[in-house]
């Protein structure tokens, strides 16, 4: 596991590269994170996915978007379009590190929505796409974020933020600025669904109302991608410590993703 900074000096992105640990090497994958508290809760699962992929013969790179995590910048400067560009930068970097010609993109929640956008325009560079519990409708996602609560406690109304700080709301310590919120609301993966690359996997562990819409659009457009439902622990939701199922990792979903990519 190598932590390092890539990208340009004025937009330094923090990433963690993991080399494939067995031969033959099957490919390279960029993992795209969710946002905010979802990122924190899902961190362990994404780390485990990276490890399992490396053990299966994949080089992996996971990274923080500009303005999040350890990457440079402030959330107030962040834009979704910038994050999409960050994914492209991560892809180039992984291609440079490994000498591969193509990468696969694996996105979780918001990361899936962003990855899908890139995959549709990136052409030959993207070998395959995994959308793990993707954010389908931005409105739905924003609503869920507003309802985030500390594990086991009652939902608290998010505190509004000062306009000079970009406005918006504080979601469990993560600044959801007006700008980002409005850009998120504009996300509509269902509309993009017909253009998804041929080699795409959509896997959902947590049913959402918008899944029906997605299924309908895929059927209408006669796309082969089905949505696989694998009942498992949604990693971006944290169960409180006393809960019987706390601490679990979504092993079934992880195994399915590795199996499908390989």
């Amino acid at each position: 596991m190598t932590p390092f900074f890539f990208g340009s000096s004025d937009r330094q992105l923090f990433g963690i590269y993991e080399a494939a640990r067995c031969a033959p090497v099957k490919g390279a994958a960029v993992l795209c994170h969710p946002w905010g508290p979802e990122y924190i809760h899902a961190h362990r699962s994404l780390r485990q996915l990276s490890n399992m992929l490396a053990a299966a013969g994949f080089h992996t790179l996971r990274f923080d978007y500009f303005g999040t995590g350890d990457s440079a910048g402030d959330m107030t400067e962040a834009r979704l379009a910038g994050w999409e560009a960050d994914i492209r930068t991560a892809m180039s970097e992984l291609l440079d590190i490994t000498g591969a010609r193509q990468v696969s993109l694996v996105g979780l929640r918001l990361g899936a929505a962003l990855a899908a956008t890139i995959a549709i325009t990136a052409g030959a560079k993207v070998r395959s796409l995994v959308l793990w519990d993707p954010v389908l409708r931005g409105e739905e996602h924003v609503r869920e974020l507003h309802l985030e609560s500390p594990p086991g406690e009652k939902a608290i109304k998010p505190r509004p933020r000062a306009p000079e700080d970009g406005g918006g709301y504080d979601i469990l310590g993560f600044p959801l600025t007006d700008q980002i919120e409005s850009e998120m609301k504009a996300l509509d993966l269902i509309a993009l669904a017909p253009a998804l690359p041929a080699r795409s996997l959509i896997v959902a562990s947590h049913p959402l109302p918008s899944h029906d819409g997605l299924r309908r659009v895929l059927d209408e457009n006669k796309r082969d991608q089905a949505i696989e439902f694998i009942a498992d622990h949604p990693p971006w939701i944290e169960l409180p410590l006393g809960h019987p199922l706390s601490g679990a990792a979504p092993v079934k979903v992880l195994r399915r993703i590795v199996e499908w990519l390989a």
């Binding site: 596991m1 900074f5 440079d96 590190i97 490994t98 410590l241 601490g247 990792a249």
Partner: protein
């Protein structure tokens, strides 16, 4: 010296001395008693007895018989063997088999009764070792339950009887024991005549050692005597081995044990993973053993003894020193680790107990400073005495502390052991073993003034011839030691004269008469022979021999008209095309030297090469020439204008005089100081190479060769020129096709290619793209190490696979090997025609067969030198002292290699900082220098790392200037300005400071490896060890409904959750009585959890 002083001196030497009645009890490390000491003791015996009688007796460690109500305990030695047995039940390495004739007149039935008596007397002979869940325990069989086979050989002749018993011994050595169910000794009684019998005893080392066999024999003969005479049997012994095992536990003072283990841990910290002779095979099947005999004559031994007297050392110490010396020569390692099995029968009571009283001691010697023999002897002495002081720490404890990741195919901590039997020990019948426990065990004994014995070795790893060679080298070493003990060990030669002749002359008998005509003349002959045959094809276009020759002649005349000829350097910077090949031919025909420049290189690099080489002219496209800032004195020959304007010129052969010494080409290779160097190769060398290749692998007019290598690498000459000397066809492949497996496979089949030369990386691309090969295909592979698995993947698809080796400085390739199926280690073969290969040690002398050294290459292929680098040339090229011809030169490759028995060479890595990545030669220093030109970089170190799964990658470690840093992308962009793509590091690691060794060099070993799992997450499956780990793994498997649990798994990461974790802890409590906190399952691995349970258990036991 007074008795008191003598005792003090003895104890300081590690010799134990106590009084036991009227006898002196002396325990000394193996070979610790020198002649002087023995005489001193004898002389002062009376005084010593008086003195020692006054010492307080140690009463706390009485040996008593323990209760037989519970399962009996195992000694630590037995525990270790039990674990090994559980993990490898089929192993016979610990079998010990021998047979004796009984000197008492009795029949088989009486002998059987005698055996049962002995069985009754010694419990260990009927002990079964069962897994009691948490630890093994001994359950005894009754004497009647142990089978005794009886064979009637009365009707056999004596010879047949001996053969029959011999045969049974062999069978018995290879019969595994089922320690849980049967006794550890198997018996056969042979009736040889009505009143003569022989007995065969086949034992497992868990119950016996060599001394035990003597005791057993004596006991058996005594019992036979009593039974035959009808007299009373001797009473059974009062104490048994199990009592010793219990005593061992009881008296194992935890404080001293901890201190001893801590001492060993410090002593052995950082020992090399493996310290052994290079194996001939890597083992995939089960282990097997064999023996090789040796003897040192009385004269040599007498001289040795004289030396030892002077130096105050013992024969055992000499053996250790000699073994270490030879090991160092073979491995190049300075840190040498040897095993020293030690008998532990230190109390009178142990002397009559049957059972294994053995501990393994580890001796570590530092030879890295090239000591003299004398110094080495002293170090051996210290090691032996120190080890003896700490001999109580059980070997198993050491292994657990120092080598927890056991690999079961080599013995832990040390792989080579040395044993010296005292002449006084009885061992009149040889004991056969069922295998070799270590890679090599050197058994020696002193007999009648000689030293003789055997080397027991793993025959699945080593050829007998290798061990025989090691035996002669051991003798050479001791001869050298005796002759001149003040000589440094690197200066001794282990070679015999015969070996030397073999190495220098026989292995290099490559003299052959080849066509000395320069390549251009050889080509012109073909053009006359077959003017209409296709010579080169590229992207659908074709040039026949006739056309190619004419065009080349015309261009050559043009070059001549510009004043270019012998001594002129002409740069050729062209994309791959028919024109490129024509130009290369034309320059040579004009008598000039060509310098290939890859248009894909960064501009800066090309500019440097232009300036450095002193070109007189450059052939390039307008576009490229324009971007290059070509100096005024260099004539630019434009492809678009000048080359095509040649077709009006005279197209006949020029007949230029070309001498063998004239330089054909100058090719640039990566330089360690930051700038590339040009290697100048003569026509004579080139012609020799082409002639040699025509013989082997060989090429015919009917062949089609695919040329995939860029012209700026010298191996392209094989692809472009070799075919043109035999009338074959060249299929010139574009570079984007050459790097795409599928496209290349396609091209090979469409163009009916029959020969391809490529690097292993390219071959892998082809194989992974599904290339199927074809009948009659010849595969040539070179540029970097050919792994066995790749060779095995290629072989079925082709008629022949050749592995080629050689640096640019000795003209393209210098050795060749036709690879055979199924070899574990791929050789780089034998020198080609008129070429010599030497493997030399640090003194410039030939290293023995099997011993690594630096590869030097001599003969017709040695280049003229580096262009305009006289100092570098004299540093790397030297006079060849071994060649018969005067003025012969040889080149120092910087590669490590060793010879096999048959003269085939094996490559063993680099001596310096040059690496091969995907076939490209890279001087790490050049990458570092390029990085350091960036203002933000203070220091940089480049290292090639092997991710294990993929081809090696370059990693750059960078120390930035204060307050500066670069992202990986920016660093790469900077390097791309001056370095070709293949020299750009994959990963950049920022460091605050570079780790340094004590002598001021960068400590490359301490640099973090980005491809090693920093988080310690497991890469491979680790089976849970028998006992607690297995118990807990079973609980997890049940609850998680899964088949495989690795010892490094974390409960939650394999699918567990909090609720299940409670059930885990409940089950553990039920089965072990220990309650652990469920929360430890969150972050710990199975192994760690088992250790925690273990600790809880010990706490409970001591608390009672």
């Amino acid at each position: 010296m007074s008795a008191g002083q003598l005792v003090a001196r003895l104890r300081s030497l590690g010799v134990g001395i106590t009084a036991s009645g009227e006898r002196l009890r002396i325990t000394a490390p193996r070979g610790g008693l020198t002649e002087q000491i023995k005489q001193a003791i004898t002389a002062q015996k009376a005084e010593l007895l008086d003195l020692l009688a006054e010492e307080p007796a140690d009463s706390s460690d009485q040996l008593v018989a323990i209760s037989r109500a519970r399962p009996l305990p195992l000694s630590s030695f037995q525990q270790r063997l039990w674990v090994l047995h559980r993990l490898e039940p089929e192993s016979t390495a610990y079998n010990m088999v021998t047979a004796w004739p009984i000197p008492v007149a009795l029949d088989a039935e009486q002998a059987e009764r005698a055996i049962r008596t002995v069985l009754g007397d010694h419990e260990i002979l009927r002990a079964t070792f069962r897994d009691d869940g948490l630890a093994p325990g001994i359950h005894l069989l009754s004497p009647e339950a142990v089978p005794v086979a009886i064979r009637d050989l009365r009707d056999h002749t004596e010879t047949d009887q001996a053969n029959a018993i011999r045969a049974d011994i062999s069978i018995a050595t290879l019969a595994p024991f089922e320690l849980a169910a049967e006794a550890p000794v198997r018996w056969t009684v042979y009736q040889l005549s009505p009143d003569r019998v022989a007995v065969l005893a086949a034992a497992h080392h868990i119950a016996m050692d060599e001394w035990s066999f003597s005791l057993l024999r004596r006991g058996l003969e005594a019992a036979c005597g009593s039974i035959a005479a009808g007299t009373a049997l001797l009473p059974p012994p009062a104490l048994q081995y199990a009592d010793y095992a219990a005593w061992q536990r009881r008296t194992r003072n935890d404080a001293t044990l901890a201190a001893d283990l801590a001492w060993w841990e410090a002593k052995l910290a950082g020992i090399p993973q493996i310290c052994s002779f290079p194996v001939d095979r890597s083992t995939t099947e089960s282990q097997s053993g064999s023996t090789c005999l040796f003897a040192w004559d009385a004269d040599l031994v007498a001289d040795l003894r004289a030396l030892l007297r002077r130096e105050g050392a013992t024969p055992y110490m000499a053996l250790i020193a000699v073994c270490a010396t030879v090991l160092r020569a073979y491995t190049g390692q300075g840190d040498i680790v040897l095993g020293s099995p030690m008998g532990m029968r230190e109390r009178a009571e142990f002397e009559s107990m049957i059972g294994p009283f053995v501990n393994l001691l580890v001796l570590r010697l530092d030879l890295s400073d090239d000591p003299t023999f004398s110094t080495l002897l002293t170090r051996a002495r210290e090691a032996v005495l120190d080890a003896h002081d700490h001999r109580q720490a059980p070997f198993e404890g050491l292994v657990e502390r120092l080598a927890p990741a056991r690999s079961f195919d080599r013995s832990p901590l040390f792989q080579v052991a040395v044993v010296l039997h005292n002449a006084s020990e009885e061992s009149t019948s040889p004991i056969d073993s069922g295998g070799a426990i270590h890679d090599l065990t050197w058994f020696a004994r002193e007999v009648d003034g000689r030293i003789e014995g055997s080397l027991e070795f793993r025959s699945d790893l080593f050829n007998r011839s290798t061990i025989e060679r090691i035996t002669t080298h051991l003798q050479s070493a001791v001869r050298a030691m005796v002759r001149d003990p003040d000589r440094r060990i690197s200066q001794i030669s282990l070679l015999t004269a015969a070996e030397r002749t073999r190495l220098i002359e026989q292995f290099n008998a490559t003299a052959q008469e080849l066509d000395p005509a320069p390549f251009t003349v050889q080509f012109e002959r073909q053009a006359v022979l077959r003017p209409d045959s296709p010579a080169i094809c590229f992207e659908g276009q074709e040039l026949t021999y006739g056309t190619l020759n004419r065009r080349a002649n015309q261009l050559a005349r043009y070059l001549g008209s510009l004043g270019l000829g012998r001594g002129s350097l002409v740069g050729v910077c062209l994309n791959r095309s028919l024109t490129m090949v024509t130009t290369l031919l034309a320059v040579q025909k004009a008598g000039a030297t060509y310098v290939p420049l890859d248009p894909g290189f960064p501009v800066d690099r090309l500019r440097f090469m232009l300036a450095d080489s002193g070109l007189a002219a450059l052939v390039a496209s307008d576009e490229i020439a324009g971007g290059l800032d070509v100096p005024a004195r260099v004539q630019i020959i434009s492809v678009e204008r000048d080359v095509s304007a040649c077709d009006t010129r005279d197209a006949s052969d020029l007949g230029t005089e070309i001498h063998a010494d004239d330089v054909a080409y100058v090719i640039y290779t990566s330089g360690s100081t930051g700038r590339p160097n040009g290697v100048a190769v003569s026509h004579g060398a080139l012609s020799n190479f082409l002639g040699a290749m025509r013989c082997a692998p060989g090429l015919a007019a009917s062949d089609v060769i695919a040329a995939v290598t860029t012209a700026s690498f010298d191996i392209a000459a094989l692809e472009l020129y070799l075919p043109l000397t035999v009338g074959a066809r060249v299929e010139l492949v574009a570079s984007d096709v050459a790097t795409d497996g599928i496209a290349l496979a396609q091209c090979l089949s469409t163009a009916n290619v029959t020969v391809l030369q490529a690097t292993p990386s390219t071959w892998r691309l082809l194989i992974e793209a599904g290339w199927q090969g074809r009948a009659g295909f010849r595969a040539l592979c070179g540029g970097e190490t050919l792994p066995a698995d790749l060779a095995n993947a290629i072989l079925p698809k082709v008629d022949a696979l050749w592995n080629l080796y050689g640096p640019t400085e000795t003209t393209i390739w210098s050795t060749a090997e036709r690879v055979a199926d199924g070899e574990a280690a791929i050789s780089i073969g034998r020198p080609i025609a008129n070429t010599a290969v030497y493997v030399l040690d640090s003194e410039g002398q030939p290293a023995g067969i099997g011993i690594p050294g630096e590869i030097w290459i001599g003969g017709a292929g040695v280049a003229a030198g580096y262009h305009q680098r006289p100092e570098l040339t004299s540093a790397r090229f030297a006079a060849d002292p071994f060649a018969p011809a005067p003025g012969a030169r040889m080149y120092r490759t910087g590669d490590l290699g060793r010879f096999g028995d048959d003269g085939r060479l094996f490559h063993m890595g680099r001596i310096d900082r040059q690496v091969k990545l995907r076939g490209f030669r890279i001087e790490l220093g050049e990458v570092e220098a390029a990085l350091e030109t960036h203002p933000a970089v203070a220091r940089a170190v480049a290292v090639a790392r092997n991710p294990g799964s993929d081809h090696p990658r370059l990693v750059a470690y960078v120390v930035y200037r204060p307050a500066e840093s670069l992202t990986a992308s920016e660093a790469r962009a900077h390097l791309r300005q001056t370095l070709p793509e293949y020299m750009i590091p994959s990963v950049f690691v920022a460091l605050d400071v570079l780790p340094m060794t004590p002598n001021g060099k960068v400590d490359v070993r301490s640099l973090p490896d980005p491809f090693r799992n920093a988080a310690g997450l497991p890469a491979t499956f680790q089976a849970p060890a028998p006992g607690l780990e297995e118990l807990i793994a079973g609980i997890w498997r049940d609850l998680l409904q899964t088949d495989r649990i690795s010892a490094d798994d974390n409960f939650f990461e394999v699918g567990g959750h909090s609720l299940l974790s409670l059930r885990v802890t409940a089950a553990i409590e039920r089965q072990t009585g220990c309650r652990i906190q469920p929360r430890i399952l969150f972050f710990q691995t199975l192994r760690q959890v088992a250790a925690a349970v273990q600790r809880k258990q010990s706490e409970r036991i001591t608390a009672r």
